[in-house]
Symmetry: C2
Subunit: 307 residues, 2 copies
Amino acid sequence: MLVYIAGSGAMGCRFGYQISKTGNDVILLDNWEDHIKAIQENGLKITGDVEETVKLPIMKPTEATKEADLIILFTKAMQLPQMLQDIKGIIGSETKVLCLLNGLGHEEVIRQYIPEHNILMGVTVWTAGLEGPGHAHLQGVGALNLQSMDAENQEAGRQVADMLTEAKLFATYDENVLPNIWRKACVNGTMNSTCALLDCTIGELFASEDGPKMVKEIIHEFVVVGEAEGVSLNEEEIVKYVFDTSVKAAHHYPSMHQDLVQNHRLTEIDFINGAVNTKGAKLGIDTPYCRLITQLVHAKEEILKIK
Amino acid sequence: MLVYIAGSGAMGCRFGYQISKTGNDVILLDNWEDHIKAIQENGLKITGDVEETVKLPIMKPTEATKEADLIILFTKAMQLPQMLQDIKGIIGSETKVLCLLNGLGHEEVIRQYIPEHNILMGVTVWTAGLEGPGHAHLQGVGALNLQSMDAENQEAGRQVADMLTEAKLFATYDENVLPNIWRKACVNGTMNSTCALLDCTIGELFASEDGPKMVKEIIHEFVVVGEAEGVSLNEEEIVKYVFDTSVKAAHHYPSMHQDLVQNHRLTEIDFINGAVNTKGAKLGIDTPYCRLITQLVHAKEEILKIK
């Protein structure tokens, strides 16, 4: 199987590295010059639970030419349309595309480029870090769930899940993956934006008297909108999941804090709280917490002159 | 007339200084030791539009004993109940109390200590700065509006307005002061909390694409709650007033930014956006923007370990 990783940041490197160990062909795609150069010259350096350096092909998305069997999407949410545009040349009629991006609403974007029967939507709890160009730090274990968007084409999803499990990425074919995607979006939508705005760790947010109150109101908006879209969500279970996650991740600054506060990069807010507000508006559901959070984050991006 | 200034920060010093020039007796009350010591030893130093140092009595609230003709309240909102408690000894049956605090809901607190016919509610656009203990910096001109809470006792309010105008503080007796108090609360409720959370100037907030959107939604919540309380508010006029104010104050960090970000002091959020949310809850009106802003500011206070 020829597998492209479309977006080879920390998570893309983890997946590319692990899949390459199974005898499948992996090509990394990315636009970060220093990263490409480092991997081309010295290979991909892995540290953490294992330490090794592997030779893996990496190139810019527009340079890829061989038709893909599978493309795993791991871009930042706002880079997805451009990536799909750039890799048109490697998408054949049987190319499967697995989306593992954080956030909501990506299937609508992907459908504009890929026929529904080739789209696989997934969600993962794997983590990874990038220490610098060409150097991924991999610790801990994870898993992922995925599903074929076309119910008639489950077989494609199951084959990809098997391949990923062989790569020790532990994928489960999930006949109802959307609730899991929304549940993870709730984690991001409660912690990322608030910790970025308050410049605090997840533990500090949840230890404050008002933090948990905000978190519950945000989750409620996600659940009401998700349910109205036909996604079956159990609010109580999601609240428990989010609070459990906050305990495990108490000492961490979430990724949006890294983007906004530490690195002054654009955030994915439009695909998390912003997506819920946009979906809510279409459905006639008011989601003021998600809307105000999105406005505050965008205002902060502008104040920091991030483009 | 014996006038006490209950809370002799920047604004209290301005009022005390200007009133003392009219031949009325002024006593400053405050709890800041260094400030009291500086004024007792060297007098109150005034710089800015005028430069002089004046001898004015200053003491702690609990040390005041002579019955007051007028007490002007200029504390931080959260210090008001303690101040009223501390100055019980100087409140006689004819002592008038003029409240010039920012924010909403103070009349309910004052009513617990002062009979309604002696309460004057006001709002001022005067400004002042404190350069350090015993040193006020006064620039620009202002004005104030005030009203007797007891419609039967307008005369008391008019007398105080005349005295303040004689002191060049330009007070107008206002037969309907509440809309003006709410309008100023809208200025504070839109700029103070948001600029504090976003760590930005008023100009930066209003120049961002999402800033004005947030501002309008916040004003709308203030107007709906105020109207439900029987205060006649013109939303369009308030929006214009807030935007005009933002232009004049574009380069400033509002006072809540100074409190929260610069000095790590508790904010007055409970008396601005928090007051609207509390009032709204009692009236069955949802005010999610005011509530989330209040929660975010309180969370930030806790994260900064401000008590």
